[in-house]
Symmetry: C2
Subunit: 121 residues, 2 copies
DNA sequence: CCCTCCGGGGATAATTTTATCCCCTGTATG
DNA sequence: CATACAGGGGATAAAATTATCCCCGGAGGG
């Protein structure tokens, strides 16, 4: 994993949460897993904008912080399942709120983003 | 501002929220402003790990998405005050939860982070 | 005159995060 | 044999975000 050169503020709750949920696809992954979409290939199909590779990296970090658990079935073809840990469960309310707030404000935010380039017509 | 080359999923609530709160210091800024620490120099003193420059950039983005408002008093010495907009107020519950979750899990997260390098003893 | 404070930002570097590309084991199916 | 599926990851590039450096105007106090 990439080793940070700039230490992050370990005494700040906000920074801690950011460390867990800050990854681009982490919230989506957690959300999906909580809904039972818990196998790597399923997750990739659920989030096709990303790549297996990247999703694996983010999953690994979620696992490192014990927010999800990985179960490997030593079979052929291989089978892997992720699921939320207890700690992970405690994140769900937060995720829901993030999603709700985003949905409620989406129309506006979208407009702002699109207007950043449109103005140049 | 930097113009993104990879378009973000405009139909996803989580992505929208990330767009607003994703900046490294944005949650801290919002939190501080909500507490009445609302002048640029005060904010910088409250978040000395960052720089005026960087804080200004992030404040500008928060302003762009109408989460905060900037009031400029044309005086000498100049005076500027930020405050939450209505939209910004709706973020506060989210921020509180992020902070709480982070605080509750801080000991553990901290340990994980520190152990990433310590193992090499 | 020098330093401090208030506010600001251009230019550029460094860091961090994501993406891309391609290869791997092994089974099954056309 | 080729392709698809299940799982995985090294190497490297690109993108995005943060940091650093230094300068600006103007007022005020030693």
């Amino acid at each position: 994993m990439y080793e940070k050169k700039i230490p992050l503020p370990l005494e700040c709750g906000l920074a801690m949460t950011r460390e867990i949920l800050g990854g681009k696809w982490k919230p989506n992954l957690l959300f999906a897993i909580s809904q039972g979409i818990n196998r790597p290939s399923q997750l990739h199909r659920a989030i096709p904008q990303s790549t297996k590779r990247v999703l694996n990296l983010q999953l690994k970090e979620l696992e490192e912080f014990e927010v999800i658990e990985k179960k490997i079935y030593h079979q052929l073809p291989p089978k892997v399942e992720y699921r939320l840990t207890e700690r992970g469960e405690t994140l769900m309310p937060l995720l829901s709120q993030m999603n709700e707030w985003g949905e409620e404000n989406r129309p506006f935010i979208k407009r702002v983003i699109l207007n950043r380039t449109k103005v140049l017509d």
